[in-house]
Symmetry: C2
């Protein structure tokens, strides 16, 4: 059975492979969360093990003895192995391109509250965060979400056309995160990207995800993660 | 023949697929550069074309009528098609993981001079840049390069073991860029990551790259690109 390793207390980048595993009905163990209060220590100990293929950072998936790091790389693997993406070369690369672009936006969303130092607290970089968040709200959110909306205008309900792929699941989580972090801005932007919002709702209604989304396995957004709600960083 | 599209005046993220194309001896056209002074306009016009698979940003490669965006995705394609990465599943995913981690560091290197606003000039965010660059120099460079050095300690001359892959070419360019941008800091860090430096030198000496590296096709680092030398952002 696959072993997924990620920080146990926040959805973060672990949520992207987790959603694919859940929607695909793929059995897996959520290792750090299984360890309960020892989860952080268990993850750190596992990362410190000497390996020829050490992960740089969580999430990583251990599958058939292989350590697969980088969320988009895990999804590439799951997509091919479990049919969560088109199997033709063009569709496979297209879905991965969408995923990598989602990953870029996730990094930028994180950097709104940590623009100058990853190791310091938000409270120590609030001034810089305000400036970065304004740029993200005004320039980057419309650019990224506008791109996804244009794709859906041409391809229909899903990013690859046809059925859902792992990139659709990821876009759902990205939108959920942005709405949590920037509710006022997203209320405004939603009017310009109706197809992206509809995709979010379509994923939320997938029968394959119903159990998971209603369960405690789905971690809530909080002030430790990538998507944090600081009212001072939001704006219309 | 493949068509590579990227901004014509800087190496940027276009250099990663370009190095793979050159080292692999793969014929390609460098479209915006072929257009000479009209290169920027040609790229922008091509990006604005209505397509079902629009690129979000350059670089992108047009291959067999497919538009492949995201540098790491182009390399995934070239690696599989032209043998620039192992063909076994574990090796293929491992090299892609290395590439995605290089891409993460490239983004962080860029953000040292643009920490709070992508659209504004460096001169308008110098104070924030100093703080972000200090964090990058002190925490991030050792963390990233230390990871690559540990891999090479176990795997030998190349990131995947065996022969070179596209990720080795990319790590070469990353090191070259970091040395350009942060010469003082890299002189210090080099002592702790000798295997990474040796890999850089090994790629620089590849016969397959000799013509390219000596040619005018190889763009020099400059103050428009990702890796910029601002002495005030460097330090031991």
């Amino acid at each position: 059975m696959y072993e997924l390793w990620y920080w146990p207390s926040l959805p973060g980048r672990g949520e992207f492979p987790r959603l694919a595993l859940e929607a695909g009905g793929i059995p897996y163990r959520d290792m750090a969360r299984e360890a309960g209060e020892e989860g952080f220590a268990a993850l750190e100990a596992d990362m410190d093990r000497t390996r020829g293929d050490p992960p740089f950072a969580p999430p990583y998936l251990i599958a058939d003895g292989i350590v697969i790091g980088q969320a988009a790389n895990i999804l590439l693997f799951l997509g091919e192995r479990h049919g969560l993406a088109p199997s033709n070369p063009a569709g496979r690369l297209w879905v991965h391109q969408c995923q990598l672009t989602i990953a870029d936006m996730v990094t930028e969303a994180h950097d709104t509250h940590h623009p100058v130092s990853m190791g310091d607290y938000y409270e120590d970089q609030k001034t810089e965060a305000k400036r970065r968040a304004a740029d993200f709200r005004d320039a980057r959110i419309p650019k990224f979400l506008g791109w996804f909306d244009r794709i859906l205008a041409q391809r229909g309900d899903w990013l690859a056309g046809g059925g859902w792929s792992y990139a659709d699941l990821s876009l759902f989580h990205l939108i959920a995160g942005l709405r949590h972090a920037f509710p006022r801005r997203m209320a405004t932007v939603a009017r310009d990207v109706p197809r992206v919002i509809a995709l979010h709702d379509r994923v939320a209604a997938l029968p394959a995800l119903a159990d998971y989304l209603a369960s405690e396995r789905r971690l809530r957004f909080n002030q430790e993660g990538i998507f944090r709600h600081y009212p001072e960083l939001d704006g219309e």
